[in-house]
């Protein structure tokens, strides 16, 4: 800004100043072709050729290495063999792919012609082309007579609307609607709480203060769709000092002498919440750090979960084993459309 009057109205615009409008840039053309080392020196050309061939050969060796690993490293009980096979399979495929890729690029960069080529932009289509196309569509409409024959038009419409209906029937066969499966679990009145994975029943006296048991309903290991049922029914059983629990009215008898059972399925996206801290009585979900406070009926005290973990009402049967008083009183796990 040395010249304060620069660009102010009334100043004469000098040739070459930035204010001068440029109508058109001069075409600088293609930069001069610069011959590469391989273009000038036959020895360099030969060398590049050998390098490309070597890279392709590396690819071949890689593929051979893969098959050596695949067929000639028999797996036994040791993990070293598995690791060696993993290594040869990985290195083999990596070199097989890399050799071809690097070889082709090196070939193109050193040996293939590198003259720059320009292709001019096409002329814009004249307006008459568009009019021709429009005329064609109009001719088809006129000649098919669809406007003059409403019977044909209406039956065609009917046929087209009805034709997709079989697809609905076919998709329906993919399976029944979920019905109540998201709202019910294997828990029911009198179902014993058993250890995961052995399925042995748990006595109330087994659960000492500070203990945490991973629990499945009795008979889970025998049902046909065991994993589906387990995914809904898993429960964490804990015993706290009864004075630490603060049950809300109506839920006082859902636990037994400080023993409480909560669904292990996070109400956020369904990860198993099982990181139990026996002194703080916090339950932490490992996926998104939702934290539930067992002292306050598994209320969410941190993280993205929206609802407390559902509590399983439990009691003790005549033989001293822990049993469920009923199924969960609300659907377990994350929200779904029809949850209500």
């Amino acid at each position: 800004m040395a010249d304060a009057s620069h660009g102010t109205p009334g100043t004469t615009i000098e040739f070459g100043s930035p204010n001068e409008l440029v109508d058109e840039f001069e075409n600088p053309g293609i930069p001069p072709h610069r011959p590469r080392l391989a273009d000038r020196d036959p020895r360099a050309e030969k060398r590049a050729e050998r390098q490309v061939a070597l890279l392709f050969t590396i690819s071949v060796i890689g593929t051979v290495l893969f098959f050596v690993g695949y067929f000639f490293i028999p797996l036994n009980d040791t993990i070293e063999r598995l690791r060696l096979q993993n290594l040869t399979l990985g290195l083999g495929t990596a070199f097989a792919m890399l050799g071809i890729g690097v070889g082709i690029v090196h070939w193109a960069k050193t040996l293939m012609p590198d003259h720059e080529v320009t292709e001019d932009r096409h002329d814009i289509r004249p307006e008459s082309d568009r009019q021709d196309a429009e005329q064609m569509v109009n001719d088809i409409l006129e000649e098919s007579g669809i406007k003059r024959r409403p019977l044909i038009r209406n039956t065609l419409l009917g046929a087209v609307l009805l034709a997709p209906l079989p697809a609905i029937a076919i998709f329906r066969d993919l399976g029944p609607l979920p019905g109540n499966v998201l709202k019910e679990t294997l828990w029911d009145t009198g179902v014993r709480l058993t250890r995961d994975p052995s399925g042995t029943p748990i006595r109330a006296s087994d659960v000492t203060i500070g203990s945490a048991f991973h629990v499945i309903p009795e008979g889970l290991n025998e049902v046909e769709d065991m994993l589906e049922e387990k995914a809904k029914a898993v429960v964490l059983l804990m015993r706290l000092d009864p004075n630490d629990l603060n049950p809300s009215p109506g839920r006082e008898d859902w636990g037994y002498d400080g023993i409480v059972a909560y669904s292990k399925i996070c109400t956020h996206v369904g990860c198993p919440v099982a990181l139990y801290e026996q002194h703080t009585h916090h339950l932490l979900c490992p996926c998104h750090q939702s934290t539930f406070d067992v002292e306050q009926e598994a209320k969410v005290i941190f993280g993205p979960a929206a609802r407390p973990l559902p509590q399983l009402p439990i009691e003790v049967d005549d033989e001293g084993y822990l049993v469920a008083s009923s199924d969960f009183q609300e659907p377990v796990g994350p929200s779904f459309w029809e949850r209500g």
Partner: protein
């Protein structure tokens, strides 16, 4: 000697000296720790043990846990925690606690094997609690590693990580990695539930099941990762960092090479 003194200014002399020093200390340390392990662990305590333990307790622990181990605002009562709890907390260096924090940190063990035993004897005399496991309970050579693995994944893996590499808990607490933890300390941790770990008593996980779990931990500790470098077995964090740095680095390098002019 002359040849040695002539080479003392060699550029690699410092490296060689350092290596020698490290090997010597490592060797002595290894010899010392095996000697410690070799001492037989007896669970029967004499009256003398209790008395010595009482003195040690008054001198080292009573300021927090109170005279007679009845607890204070700073630390819980130790009546009924059992000898196993003392052996774990003191034997891994967690107690005496160095500083206040979310949980007691592992640090070099402060008491000898004998003193730890006496402390355990004293605390065990205050009230019944889990005893220090005997050697035949800890023998993991008979353990079923597959069953142990299943039990570990159900009961332990959520906090300690599927590869026992440890993990974070709430508000600064964490579950430690189990690599290098002795069978005795693993067993004691299960029966006593140190810090915020829940208790896994013998009614929940039977002594045989505990053996299986220890056998499983031994196996995964020995055999290493089937996939090569495990990057700490921390899952997407370390693996993601590696692929973002190394993978993107390779892609950028190839892009630079692809667009560069050939000479």
């Amino acid at each position: 000697m002359k040849a040695l003194s002539q080479r003392r200014r060699h550029p690699l002399a410092a490296v060689a000296l350092l290596l020698m020093a490290l090997l010597t200390t490592g060797g002595i340390y290894a010899a010392a720790s095996t000697a410690n392990e070799a001492q037989a662990q007896t669970t029967s305590f004499t009256a003398n043990d209790v008395e010595e333990g009482s003195k040690l307790f008054t001198a080292n622990c009573a300021s927090c846990h109170g005279m007679g181990a009845t607890g204070s605002d700073a630390a819980p009562s130790l009546v009924g925690v059992g000898a196993a709890s003392v052996d774990f907390q003191v034997g891994t260096g967690r107690m005496p606690m160095q500083m206040d924090g979310p949980q007691a940190q592992v640090k070099p063990v402060q008491f000898t094997e004998e003193q730890t035993r006496q402390l355990a004897a004293y605390v065990a005399s205050l009230g019944a609690g889990p005893a220090i496991p005997s050697d035949d309970v800890l023998d993991a050579s008979e353990g079923d590693t597959a069953a142990g693995g299943e039990l570990f994944r159900v009961n332990c893996a959520m906090c300690h990580n599927a590869a026992a590499a440890g993990g974070a808990l709430t508000r600064g607490k964490y579950a430690p990695a189990l690599d290098g933890t002795s069978a005795k300390h693993i067993y004691e941790a299960m029966v006593t539930g140190p810090q915020n770990m829940p208790v896994f008593n013998d009614a929940n996980i039977t002594p045989e099941d505990k053996q299986d779990i220890i056998a499983f931990l031994d196996t995964i500790g020995e055999q290493g990762s089937p996939g090569g470098a495990d990057l700490g077995s921390l899952g997407p964090v370390s693996e993601g960092l590696f692929i973002w740095v190394a993978g993107l680095g390779v892609i950028i390098a190839f892009t630079v090479w692809l667009t560069s002019r050939s000479s």
